[in-house]
């Protein structure tokens, strides 16, 4: 890494293990590690490697302001989780409910506004002509395909779960988990990862020194565990430095945006109901509704990188999705309790990077663990963490160094022979078809699912920036050149994206806000998402080459920004307002231009910053 500041007295510290990020992956790792480090009486059974005689020094740094940061659903089969807590009554977890009923709904377009390929339109017509098949403009799949179902699974709150595990870990005294501590990068020296550097504090938005400057500490560790999630900056740094294994690619993404809602008292949905939707508001957008106890539910959509629309706003689409008759039936009268957005690395196992190296190992979504066929990432992330935890305990006990070879044997081998790998492989081709179109995608997913991974619809994944069209191209047929230019002008003058103009032109009615579930985008940030920013750090969203923005005709970054934190600025360079940023990282992969062709780094860099969502119920 290139330190942005002169080295004045950068503090440094030694540890045995340092982890980047506290998501389910590192949580699983730390649970397993601390259990392995403890003797029968709970006291450490092994001693520190870096400070012989002292107890093990295990540290974990999470950038968010608390450990309850988690936007995910969650519905999971929870195999790994259950194995880690054999005696635990999972029913005591917040918002826990066993999966009681699953539905997959294909949503028709009651408004005639969505862009449906001819084949889809024909299918829609057919379904509509058979009213007994479609109710509330939705067709319920007669059964849930085996690869999708979550039978025997459960829902719970990831945020609350993370908090709970964090508490357990801290109380062992064998690990420390620190929130509000962004890691700026890994310390890579002579091909080895020697630890991490925390972000500088007391700098202005651009990173210039201010009074009270506190250089980020170097934490030097025998092992660095990177579990920083789909858009983690340290994981990406390793990819840039060490490259990706041959054939690996990380081109497929989605942003998931969801709300936790309190259903109206007369909503008949039972806890444990799980509804998946497809087909609406645009065919490319998938949705989910999970019902928790106490009339709470999680409702959200995924907007993928292969949805070729430069105005791909997740927020407005979320509002239209909620109002689809088949969902509105359940959601009418409910109230938004909290809200959030997060990226999903949909490349799955295709995007698997080098998992280990000298002094480092990777776990979780960042390591390609998320299963895109089953739509499951939490249990997979947790399980890879557990596998690494077991490996590290084994190496520690045997006094072996944490180098590539040993980690390969102890961790990667465990991973290769596990269900995570097996199912990941089966899902490898699942989404290729979507590269070609929605219909091909659906067929491909079914093919892959039913053939257990043998088949798929061919499609070569492109990086998002290689495929996203300009406004003019996308709107062709709906807006002429003059109208498109006017839309651009209005967007620039009004400091907002083009999506409202595009969607108006397509016939989407502007949502009527009810102040409860349908609230303005900015209100959603306040509702329960509770976005906050700390002024002590440099901006974490950085435009690398402003001149590229000036010529950028797509400006996807503005429209898809989950928090409206990116707005059109002077000279065509978007302006970033960190007080609205939810750290979803979507701007990173949505950016339409490439700043470093060699690495594929887009023109917008997403770094680690403090703050963001601070939500109770996510």
């Amino acid at each position: 890494m290139t330190p942005s500041q002169p080295e004045f007295q950068r503090p440094s510290m030694r540890a045995d293990v340092v982890c980047v990020g506290f998501g389910p992956a590192t949580a699983g790792f730390l649970m397993t590690l601390t259990q392995g480090l403890a003797g029968a009486d709970g006291a450490p059974a092994l001693e520190s490697r870096v400070m012989p005689g002292a107890p093990p020094q295990v540290l974990c740094y999470e950038r968010a302001d608390d450990l309850g940061y988690g936007v995910s659903g969650v519905v999971t089969r929870g195999r790994g989780l259950k194995e880690s807590f054999p005696g635990l009554d999972f029913g005591s977890l917040p918002l826990y409910s066993e999966v009681a009923e699953e539905q997959v709904l294909y949503l028709l377009d009651p408004l005639g506004a969505s862009r449906r390929p001819a084949l889809v339109r024909a299918a829609d017509r057919l379904l509509k002509s058979l009213p007994f098949l479609a109710r509330d403009h939705a067709f319920r799949l007669p059964y849930v395909p085996s690869f999708l179902h979550k039978k025997g699974g459960f829902t719970f709150s990831l945020g609350q779960f993370n908090q709970w595990v964090g508490g357990l870990l801290m109380s062992t005294g064998l690990a420390q988990v620190w929130p509000a501590s962004p890691v700026a990068g890994a310390l890579i020296e002579n091909g080895r990862v020697e630890g991490v550097r925390l972000a500088d504090q007391g700098v202005d938005a651009r990173g210039n020194l201010e009074p009270g400057y506190l250089p980020g500490m170097d934490v030097r560790a025998a092992l660095t565990v990177v579990g920083d999630g789909p858009v983690g900056q340290v994981g990406r740094q390793l990819d840039r430095h060490f490259g990706l294994p041959k054939g690996a690619q990380r081109h497929e993404w989605a942003v998931g945006m969801k709300a936790v809602v309190e259903l109206s008292p007369d909503c008949p949905l039972k806890p444990g109901t799980v509804i998946h939707t497809l087909g609406y508001p645009e065919p490319e957008i998938f949705g989910f509704l999970y019902v928790y106890p106490n009339r709470l539910a999680s409702a959200g959509i995924f907007v993928p990188s292969w949805f070729d629309n430069p105005g791909r706003t997740a927020y407005r689409y979320l509002q239209h999705w909620m109002q689809h008759p088949a969902l509105w039936r359940h959601l009418r009268g409910s109230e938004m309790k909290s809200w959030g957005a997060k990226s999903l690395l949909e490349s799955g196992i295709r995007g698997e990077p080098f998992l280990v190296g000298d002094g480092w190992a990777r776990v979780g979504e960042n390591s390609g663990s998320t299963n895109v066929l089953t739509g499951s990432g939490v249990d997979e992330a947790w399980t890879t963490g557990v596998q690494l935890g077991r490996a590290v305990v084994e190496l520690w006990r045997r006094g072996l160094p944490f180098d590539r070879e040993n980690l390969e044997k102890a961790y990667v081998r465990r991973r290769r022979s596990s269900w995570v790998e097996r199912e990941g492989r089966a899902g490898r081709k699942a989404r290729d078809g979507f590269q070609k179109g929605f219909v091909q995608g659906m067929l491909g997913m079914a093919l892959t699912g039913f053939s257990k991974g043998l088949l798929g619809w061919p499609g070569r994944p492109l990086q998002p920036h290689q495929r996203v069209p300009t406004l003019e191209k996308y709107a062709a047929g709906r807006l002429d050149a003059a109208q498109a230019a006017e839309l651009r002008r209005q967007s620039q003058a009004g400091g907002r994206g083009v999506h409202d103009g595009l969607m108006d032109a397509a016939g989407w009615p502007r949502p009527t806000l009810d102040g409860r579930l349908l609230v303005s985008h900015q209100d959603a940030l306040l509702k329960g998402g509770k976005v906050r920013a700390s002024g002590r750090y440099a901006d974490h969203v950085v435009i690398l080459k402003p001149e590229l923005c000036a010529d950028c005709g797509e400006k996807v970054c503005v429209d898809m920004c989950s928090g409206q934190a990116l707005t059109p600025g002077a000279d065509g360079v978007p302006v970033f307002d960190r007080e609205k940023c939810v750290h979803c990282g979507a701007c990173l992969w949505n950016c339409a231009k490439v700043a470093e062709p060699a690495t594929g780094q887009t023109n917008l860099d997403f770094r680690a910053g403090a703050g963001g969502l601070h939500s109770a119920e996510n």
Binding site: G167, W178, G528
Partner: protein
């Protein structure tokens, strides 16, 4: 250079950004989903802690304790966010203290905790806390605690306390009209209920955090449970105000006309 023994008392409150709703349970009034709401150290108590930390750093040999009565699990969460910001020794009381608890009852739980601190030199004692909590908002707990500890000099709404080389302190308390009352305290012991103070929130210092946690985790583990029973406070009702107004949203009105409406409205009696 004077040496102070600063004991900071601070409870936990739900993050102000959360939506709060009162509910009545078997144990009396509380907040809906209270255990799920993210908590923070009471903001004015946090100012007190940051002031204590700065005072201690400027006066070597001084010590800072943080005494907090709160549910253990919540306290642990808050500590993780707090422990990197200021150096302190934790004294934890495991109690469900919230907005509907009785101030005097809380004060006795805290008094027991303060009295249990080994090595506390009463002649150097500065008892700090927030002048009011963000939960009860009574401004009573700390004052009663001071009384229980026999502290005869008390200050409330403190925005500044500047020590002089002779160990005396100049103290600024908020009074009406946006002014401060200035007092000179010749020497501790004294009680200072802090308002905002004058320090920004300190940065996160990982080393401070590591050090704090070494002592804080054991302190948490042996936190004495204390059951608050209500202290004779009866709450016959608690409700959210029906404060929603029928807002008239005026769009597209020329500025001149907006200005005229406002001027007229100001003039209305």
């Amino acid at each position: 250079m004077p040496v102070f023994h600063v004991v900071v008392c601070g409870g936990l409150v739900p993050d102000p950004l959360q939506t709060l709703e009162p509910v009545q349970g078997p144990a009396g009034w509380g907040l809906k989903n209270e255990s799920m709401l993210p908590a923070i150290l009471d903001p004015w108590a946090a100012s007190a802690l940051f002031e204590a930390d700065s005072l201690a750093r400027a006066n070597p040999g001084s010590r800072v304790w943080l005494v907090s009565a709160a549910p253990k699990a919540k306290l642990q969460q808050v500590l993780m966010a707090l422990a990197q910001k200021a150096a302190f020794e934790l004294v934890a009381v495991d109690a469900q203290a919230g907005g509907f608890s009785d101030a005097a009852e809380c004060a006795s739980a805290l008094a027991a905790a303060v009295n249990s601190i080994a090595g506390l030199d009463r002649s150097r004692l500065l008892l700090f806390g927030g002048w009011e909590s963000a939960s009860r908002g009574a401004g009573a707990t700390l004052a009663i605690l001071g009384e229980m500890l026999g502290i005869s000099e008390q200050f409330q709404g403190v925005d500044q306390a500047s020590p002089k080389p002779d160990g005396s302190l100049e103290i600024l308390e908020r009074v009406e009209g946006g002014r401060h009352q200035v007092s000179l305290l010749s020497a501790p012991p004294a009680l200072l209920g802090w308002a905002t103070g004058s320090l920004p929130e300190p940065p996160n210092n990982p080393q401070v955090g590591m050090l704090n946690m070494r002592s804080a985790m054991p302190a948490l583990q042996k936190a004495a449970p204390s059951r608050l029973t209500g202290g004779g406070l009866a709450l016959s009702s608690v409700e959210l105000p029906s404060q929603r107004r029928d807002t008239r949203v005026v769009k597209d009105m020329p500025e001149d006309q907006v200005a005229r409406e406002i001027v007229e409205w100001i003039a209305e009696k």
